[in-house]
């Protein structure tokens, strides 16, 4: 864990990894026709490994599912690299990483997130110089998941879902800032624990997933963990429904509850900066999305979604009314 962290952590490495992923993604997209008939490459059924969700685990766009990532079957190892771009009205998020599935039993993933807050920074900078002091907030996520029982796809004659448990260890790299009075997080790292149940109702072309996550993360961890409102693990329900239109095309929707831990508006330390108790509003909302996932070949999955993220940070004093974040979500995943 330590070694991986050290390797992935450095900025140079991040950029390099980003470039490699992007290059290989582009190369793979253009090389697609040559791979299309290579049936030996992967041995799960199309799209049944889910896609890489925003934190790097196999699932939908927002939610980890019980499926194990990669197209390896139960005697194989499979993996993928992914890049996800989320552009909301006032923010941007880049996520890239890799996911490896072992024997359809165990999944390991590493993801790096870069959350672009430059628009907020620019608005805030004139009134409160240095209050944000950076254009991006970064975090690294290491995920592990183990399938406990069930076959989401093949057990088509029972209601028994596939059930997995997983963790996502998250480490925010802007430690001092997110723990400062401006954000007010209690910690710069945290571990989400979840149990996910996924079931494909094959005769109805319908996949349902429910995930119960215990978390302290603020905005997925991008704003740290815990706050003055709450600094304890809270259960959050995440649900997904996907309808299979074709074997290579799925549409769906997801809802993800998120905690609301931060109480920046009432933080007295902010008063000298903003002149008011209510000028930075970090109230966190639940998120939902509607998505379409397309697998032009077995090795490539492309996901496009509309995501609603609600409020992330609103600063009335500088007219940064960023309270309702509608976002476009684009993700590409290349499997091996």
């Amino acid at each position: 864990m330590k070694t991986i962290k050290n390797h992935v952590n450095t900025k140079a490495c991040n950029l390099l990894l980003g470039n490699i992923l992007l290059t290989s993604a582009l190369a793979a997209v253009f090389a697609a026709p040559a791979w299309a008939d290579d049936a030996q490459f992967s041995n799960k059924l199309l799209l049944t490994g889910g896609v890489s969700q925003v934190e790097g685990s196999a699932g939908g766009g927002l939610t980890p599912w019980a499926v194990i990532g990669g197209y390896g079957s139960n005697n194989q190892i499979g993996g993928n690299v992914h890049y996800t771009y989320v552009k909301s009205s006032d923010y941007k998020l880049d996520t890239y990483g890799f996911t490896v599935g072992f024997y359809d039993r165990f999944e390991f993933s590493v993801a790096e997130q870069r959350f672009d807050v430059s628009k907020l920074r620019n608005k805030v900078e004139a009134a409160f110089p240095g209050a944000i002091g950076r254009d991006t907030l970064n975090q690294m996520i290491i995920g592990a998941k183990v399938r406990v029982f069930g076959e989401a796809i093949l057990d088509a004659d029972t209601w028994m879902p596939q059930v997995s448990v997983g963790i996502q260890y998250k480490e925010n790299q802007d430690k001092d800032f997110i723990k400062s009075a401006v954000v007010g997080a209690k910690s710069d790292h945290g571990t989400d624990i979840y149990v996910a149940a996924t079931k494909l109702f094959l005769d109805k072309n319908l996949l349902l997933n429910g995930t119960l996550r215990f978390t302290k993360a603020n905005q997925f961890g991008l704003l740290g963990f815990g706050g003055d409102k709450h600094d304890n693990y809270q259960p959050m329900l995440e649900v997904s429904a996907a309808y299979l239109l074709r074997k290579d095309l799925t549409v769906g929707a997801e809802y993800r509850m998120k905690p609301d831990n931060l109480r920046s508006p009432l933080n007295p330390a902010l008063q000298p900066l903003t002149g008011s108790n209510n000028s930075i509003n970090l109230q966190e909302d639940d998120a939902f999305d509607v998505f379409v996932a397309y697998a032009p070949t077995k090795n490539i999955s492309l996901t496009a979604a509309y995501v609603y993220l609600g409020n992330i940070a609103t600063v009335d004093a500088v007219k940064a009314d960023f309270g309702k974040q509608d976002a476009v979500y684009l993700s590409a995943q290349i499997g091996f």
């Binding site: 049936a39 041995n43 059924l45 079957s73 005697n75 093949l154 057990d155 088509a156 005769d203």
Partner: protein, 175 residues
């Protein structure tokens, strides 16, 4: 725990429907499903019609077999002189599963795969080739999945290894 309960239930069901059979032939009772069918048949006949009836199934199985022999993952299991027999058995089995008025008289899934070792990779590869064949004959996706939903649970009887696949060994006959 769940596996154990399930195994017991499956064992009970299996033993309650167990019949002594002539070699390779399961007993068929008029008006009920074949004991060796592997799943309950569908209620209506919409899916069967979507497959083009028995005639459609025959064509699909012809292409299915070609795909199985062309796919290196399934070739060792199907590149043999049993193809005509297997295709006929599959047509009957699918036909009965889709309530098409046929009777499957073949062996159950466990004994018909007893002389080989099938793993998940091979099972999924077969499903994939079946999807290709159904696509080729324009079977609508939702009809495909209705049949696949009947077939997928048979992995429990068909898969006998999580290790390497072992192709079938046929007993030498005097004829």
């Amino acid at each position: 725990m769940n596996f154990n309960i399930k195994a017991v239930i499956v064992a009970l069901l299996a033993s309650s429907t167990l019949t002594f059979t002539l070699p390779a032939l399961a007993e068929v009772t008029e008006g009920t499903r074949s004991a060796s069918l592997g799943n309950t048949p569908m209620e209506g006949t919409e899916t069967f019609i979507a497959f083009g009836g028995k005639e459609g199934l025959v064509k699909i199985m012809d292409d299915f077999m070609i795909g199985l022999v062309a796919d290196p993952r399934t070739k060792p299991f199907f590149d043999n002189n049993k193809q005509t027999f297997i295709k006929a058995m599959l047509v009957d089995q699918m036909c009965e599963l889709m309530n098409g008025g046929c009777k499957y008289v073949g062996r159950d899934m466990k004994s018909s795969h007893a002389n080989m070792k099938v793993n998940r990779e091979g099972f999924n590869a077969l499903v994939e080739q079946f999807q290709f064949a159904m696509d080729k004959h324009n079977v609508p996706f939702s009809a495909q999945n209705k049949l696949l939903a009947k077939l997928a649970p048979m992995y429990r009887e068909i898969e006998t290894t999580t290790g390497n696949a072992v192709p079938p060994v046929f007993a030498k006959t005097a004829e």
